[in-house]
């Protein structure tokens, strides 16, 4: 390579790495140092406070409900989009993508307008004794909304790729739809589904805007971990905010690692 070529290569590398450092690594590094400013003991005290533990449990609860629902929905939606053809399929396709484009705050407001008191279904739900907004069901719905597209979007291309030959063969041999799905389709799409689940979980755990609007943010009740972080910060307990953030960051890092493992696995499989 010419001296000029090497110079431009090093130049580009330097610019890319400096940008990533200034935007990602440096802030995260500094925040990590700040978290342990007052020692590891203080961090442990902060994250074992009852409100923090309750917020973590609340976050996990929403994940446990939202992720399986969105997984089943995502696989079913992928099937409908890829394997069937009807007039309003484009609308289904567009609706699946909507949560990527809508502001979380708008999502929260939309749910209030339908399921809140004075909302379209609010009075009927209240008559049945169900409170959605400012309560757990509202938080779960908000989380379902924001994390809805991931599984479908990961599975759709895989389903298009595998085609219908094997499924048709199984059906010709007398397998029912469920059997065909379980024995043929599911094994073929499993990495797509898994990758989708990882992304759904990450988004569900971290959702802040939509949950803020629908939850009422009552500490020890309707507070998820991201809401706890912001409340701690706003009440000037920055150590508490940083410690709870650390928990969220560790969960995010776990997600990132599994994303990478899955990607590598996919590449070696191909």
């Amino acid at each position: 390579m010419t001296g000029n070529g090497r110079l431009s290569r090093y130049g580009l590398r330097f610019v890319a790495l400096s940008y990533l450092s200034a935007l990602l690594l440096l802030p995260i590094g500094v925040a990590l140092v700040k978290t342990f400013d007052q020692g590891v003991g203080e961090v442990i005290t902060q994250i074992t406070k009852p409100d923090a533990i309750h917020a973590l449990k609340m976050s996990l609860l929403t994940v446990i409900i939202a992720v399986p629902l969105n997984t089943v929905f995502g696989i079913a939606a992928a099937h409908v989009v890829v394997r069937t053809d009807f007039r309003f399929k484009w609308a289904i396709n567009a609706l699946i993508d909507m949560p990527f484009a809508v502001s979380p705050v708008v999502i929260g407001l939309a749910l209030i307008l339908v399921y809140g008191t004075g909302g379209w279904f609010g009075a009927d739900l209240a008559a049945m004794g169900i409170q959605v907004i400012f309560s757990t069901p509202g938080i779960v719905m908000a989380v379902i909304f924001v994390s809805l597209p991931f599984v479908a979007r990961e599975v759709i291309p895989v389903m298009q790729e595998i085609g219908t030959d094997q499924e048709t063969a199984a059906e010709t041999l007398g397998a029912g739809p469920w059997q065909t799905f379980r024995r043929i389709t599911l094994p073929a799409i499993r990495w797509g589904v898994t990758y989708g689940i990882v992304l759904t979980t990450a988004r569900a755990l971290g959702e802040f805007g939509a949950v803020t609007v629908v939850s009422g943010n009552i500490s020890g009740e309707t507070q998820t971990l991201p809401l706890y972080v912001s409340q701690q910060f706003e009440t000037f307990n920055s150590v508490g905010a940083y410690s709870a953030s650390l928990v969220l960051a560790i969960l995010a890092l776990g997600t990132l690692l599994s994303m990478n493992l899955l990607r590598r696995r996919e590449e070696t499989n191909d």
């Binding site: 890319a16 802030p27 705050v105 809805l148 971290g206």
Partner: protein, 272 residues
């Protein structure tokens, strides 16, 4: 090998398919369609004139303008830096490249409120660097750059990987310089990816809330973006105003999605 009995005639052809479709449509309606329809209905509940007055009140205009301008700046930076980073990740080789590649996904994995807190530590008023960017428009841009980083990189990377290097060699042997090879051969091939990444980043930037809420200070007319304005309206019980500005954001975002779909169809035009 066990042979399952043929059950033709027992099972209703298409019944499962219809059930699956019904389930998907119901779920989408309850979670996405009806709530978004409710926003539109609320926004226009007092008539189109009232809607117009609401979205043209000074504070709403200021918030929408700030959101649009900041998002535009952010996606322009992303178009350049995202392509550059994708280039370095595909064409360059250095120790630790695999780690850098996985770090790109960090903004997708990290909760936005954590991103906000993290950026505040470095660029806020307690910063050891002496940067006092918190509560400024600069902070809004930094936070948006953080959350939108992966879009362009991840859209350009696969295109760059599948780019045929023979074209570049041919151009080089015919005497084309580096700049010319890039603008005439590489860039046109990457454009669909850059455009798709930019549109997705733009949609994300328009609606971002969590990453901004701690660092932007939410000062009306100065650092208050549209999503923060909407939250303020909800909290002060101005639901119609909140819905009206939401509709404006929704229309913008839907245009972005439609644009991405068009690009993808255009990109696949030779495959059919």
């Amino acid at each position: 090998m066990a042979v399952s009995r043929p059950r033709a005639g027992l099972r209703l052809p298409g019944a499962e398919a219809a059930m699956t479709k019904g389930l998907v449509v119901t779920y989408l309606s309850l979670i996405v369609l009806i709530p978004l329809a409710a926003i539109a209905a609320k926004a226009f509940s007092a008539g189109p004139a009232e809607f117009w007055d609401t979205i043209t009140q000074p504070q709403a205009i200021a918030a929408l303008k700030l959101t649009a301008i900041c998002s535009l700046i952010v996606v322009l930076i992303n178009a350049v830096m995202g392509t550059l980073i994708a280039w370095v990740l595909v064409r360059d080789d250095f120790p630790g490249k695999a780690i850098v590649n996985s770090v790109i996904d960090l903004p997708f994995a990290l909760p936005t409120i954590v991103a906000s807190l993290t950026l505040l530590t470095l660029y806020g008023n307690d910063s050891f660097l002496g940067i006092h960017a918190a509560y400024t428009r600069f902070a809004v841009i930094i936070a948006l750059l953080f959350v939108t980083l992966p879009f362009v990189v991840r859209a350009v990377q696969p295109l760059l990987l599948s780019l045929d290097r023979d074209m570049e060699s041919a151009a080089e042997s015919l005497g084309a310089g580096k700049v010319r090879i890039f603008t005439r051969i590489i860039l046109p091939n990457l454009l669909p990816g850059i455009a798709a990444g930019v549109a997705l980043a733009f949609a994300r930037a328009l609606g971002e809330f969590g990453a901004l809420v701690l660092i932007s200070g939410n000062v009306p007319y100065k650092t208050e973006v549209a999503s923060v304005f909407i939250r303020g309206q909800i909290e002060s019980d101005q639901v119609v105003g909140a819905a009206a500005v939401s509709v404006v954001l929704l229309v913008f975002s839907m245009c972005m999605l439609a644009f991405v779909n068009l690009i993808q169809k255009w990109g696949l035009r030779h495959d059919r």
